[in-house]
């Protein structure tokens, strides 16, 4: 029977199945960070259990780490969480890239970078943006802390088989339109709950044309459409990215693996439970204006009005978003002024993201009313960027150049947007208070964030300067 890549990977990982029960699924890679793991390790300790496969775990510190004055953490509770992870990794034999380790970075950036993320794997982490790893043709999803404990002790999870969904992006994206705009457009068009209970496969010409880093941006935000996971079938782009990475197979083994990986692709005639389609040529550079990732529009649009919605719940959600965001229904997106720009996060802090932003700001200067920071996704990205002089471009333009971590995406460290202030952010969530209590987040691509930082308000990056290559 013809199968989707989702079913192929799933079926390959079933340890045990029985009518009326979820499948017992084997987990190939367990990524760990400081925030969602301490209670899980404590659970092991209390029950006198060990980590079944420490060799399949990899830990790092990202959510709480400071992005300046390393390694000083002023907050004693945050510090305790960091030291607890180090202690747990040592006690249970789990490999750790700690705050000062050269491999440190946002967990979803370093997994691919180190070649730990590979096609066909089942990958979990106590973090919803684990969907990022799906870009390689893996089933990767976020789990809660009880499940972290379950994986640590058994290397398995009980999982009901999810439904399958194809999201096809037809045609080619236009000039100045990025992977971030594609995924924001998908979420805006189909809604933040559309993927609930499904694993999504992204297909179509526009997806095939993306680099691995761009594919990671797409898959990263699958969770913002409610999907359990999102993936893209492996191809030559995937294989070329992985060749030579530290934890990928090497030499002949790699070539054999590559052949297996390519065979994972969805069979012709395989049927998805649901198929959605969007045309790339209808996608513009995007800006969110509300308090969830589906509340966004192309830059040339205006914010909707309550008259655009039918249900009272939706009307009330718009009113409540406008009140929180300090905006008016119907206003032009280009009239929204910002005070902060954040280029970073597991969505958009890879080298190509920083390059895109640097191309926009090169030789220019941040608007006097804007504070702008760049937070590379990993120490490796930071070094690569410095090697080609991006740090200098940013600092010359008035940006701060920071150490790697999750930073202002969720503001668990000191990188906080003050109440009432507005941030053009390359991150993934614009929920109330996400970047600090009372803060107002607008999700955009790196080039759009950079352009907004220069102008002090949102602008169409396609129009700002004909000489800019995006």
């Amino acid at each position: 029977m013809a199968k989707t890549i989702i079913e192929k990977i799933w079926d390959e990982h079933i340890v045990y199945e029985e009518e009326g029960k979820p499948d017992l699924l084997y987990i190939d890679l367990h990524l760990i960070h400081e925030v969602t793991s301490p209670q899980a390790f404590e659970g092991l300790r209390l029950a006198n259990r060990k980590v079944r496969r420490p060799d399949l775990c990899f830990a790092t510190m990202d959510h709480n780490v400071p992005t300046k004055n390393l390694p000083v953490i002023n907050d004693p509770i945050a510090k305790k969480q960091i030291t607890t992870l180090a202690k747990n990794c040592e006690e249970f034999g789990v490999q750790l890239a700690d705050m000062e380790h050269p491999d440190q970075g946002i967990v979803h950036i370093i997994g691919p970078e180190l070649g730990l993320t590979q096609p066909g794997k089942t990958i979990v982490c106590g973090d919803s943006h684990t969907s990022t790893h799906g870009a390689f043709g893996a089933i990767a999803f976020g789990i809660g802390t009880s499940e972290v404990e379950h994986v640590l002790s058994t290397q398995t999870l009980w999982q009901g088989k999810p439904k399958t969904m194809e999201i096809r992006v037809t045609g080619k994206i236009g000039f100045g339109v990025t992977a971030k705009d594609i995924i924001l457009a998908i979420i805006s068009k189909f809604g933040i709950g559309v993927g609930t209970g499904h694993i999504v496969e992204y297909t179509g010409e526009a997806i095939r044309g993306l680099t691995m880093e761009e594919r990671m941006t797409i898959c990263n935000m699958s969770i913002e459409a409610g999907a359990k996971a999102g993936l893209i079938g492996p191809d030559e782009t995937t294989i070329n990215y992985l060749r030579g990475r530290r934890y990928a197979p090497q030499g002949e083994e790699f070539e054999a693996a590559a052949e297996r990986w390519l065979a994972l692709n969805t069979d012709e005639g395989a049927v998805y439970d649901q198929v959605l389609e969007i045309h790339a040529d209808e996608i513009e550079p995007f800006v969110t204006w509300g308090t969830n990732p589906s509340m966004g529009s192309g830059i040339s649009a205006n914010i909707p009005t309550t008259a655009d919605y039918v249900s009272e719940t939706d009307k009330s959600a718009l009113r409540s978003a406008m009140e929180y965001m300090g905006l008016e229904e119907g206003m032009a997106l280009t009239d929204i002024e910002i005070q902060h720009a954040f280029i970073g996060s597991c969505t958009n802090a890879r080298l190509s993201d920083l390059e895109a932003a640097a191309n926009v700001v090169k030789g220019k200067h941040v608007h006097p009313t804007v504070t702008a920071i760049v937070v590379p996704g990993s120490r490796t990205v930071k070094k690569q960027a410095e090697d080609i002089g991006l740090d200098k471009i940013f600092t010359d333009a008035g940006f701060e150049w920071r150490e790697s971590g999750c930073s202002m995406c969720l503001a668990m460290n000191d990188d906080v947007v003050p109440a009432g202030e507005r941030c053009a952010s390359t991150s993934n969530r614009n929920f109330e208070g996400r970047q600090g209590a009372g803060s107002r987040t607008h999700l955009v691509s790196p080039s759009m964030a950079a352009a907004a930082a220069l102008h002090g308000h949102f602008v169409d990056v396609r129009k700002i300067d004909a000489a800019v290559q995006i």
């Binding site: 959510h63 973090d127 933040i192």
Partner: protein, 194 residues
């Protein structure tokens, strides 16, 4: 985990859709390394103004719902982050049942690991309960065994739940201990895929 079966309580009407986990438990409270004590931070920025005073307009601060163990909201409850601190906060605050037309996957799954029963009812059924619950305190009786939610004036609605999760909640079982019964299968799988 505490078993759950029959729950009778006034419902707390949370008249919002897409309630995300950042609202349920804000990130500044995720730094603790314990599982307990999160109830005081539940919906913190909705319950309290920036100056720390109570937001009297927020439903959790309405004394009519004091002691309620059933939370009712609109669709896509628990979207966003995987943080299990969200169900920990809900449980620690005193809720045992959350009723909504739909739930985000990770939140839904996290509930079952903590003895919280997430119930999916239709939009019309939820609207009815929210409407009644907002007008005056309205008591619901939930039976997990029978898979029903009964309103105090006689309306009874049934809900679906997968039999595995139902059994776990009814018995309050620790899933890891159960999984260890399949250890030979796991070992077999590992040997086959080594």
């Amino acid at each position: 985990m505490e078993p759950i079966n029959k729950i009778e309580s006034v419902l707390t009407p949370l008249d919002k859709n897409n309630v995300d986990t950042d609202q349920i438990i804000s990130k500044e409270f995720l730094k603790r390394i314990e599982r307990t004590g999160f109830g005081q931070y539940l919906f913190y920025h909705w319950r309290f103004h920036a100056d720390g005073t109570k937001n009297e307009e927020f439903v959790l601060n309405d004394p009519r719902y004091d002691g309620s163990t059933i939370l009712v909201a609109h669709e896509n409850f628990g979207c966003g982050s995987s943080r299990e601190h969200a169900p920990w906060a809900i449980l620690d605050y005193g809720f045992r049942v959350v009723i909504a037309p739909s739930f985000a996957d990770i939140f839904y799954s996290n509930c079952f690991k903590n003895g919280i029963l997430p119930i999916t009812l239709s939009v019309a059924e939820i609207d009815e309960f929210l409407h009644k619950g907002k007008e005056a305190p309205y008591t619901l009786t939930v039976s997990l065994e029978d898979q029903t939610v009964a309103g105090e004036d006689g309306s009874v609605y049934s809900f679906n739940i997968d039999p595995y999760s139902k059994k776990m909640l009814l018995n309050g079982w620790d899933e890891i201990s159960l999984t260890f019964q399949y250890e030979d299968k796991i070992t077999e799988y590992e040997q086959k895929h080594a």
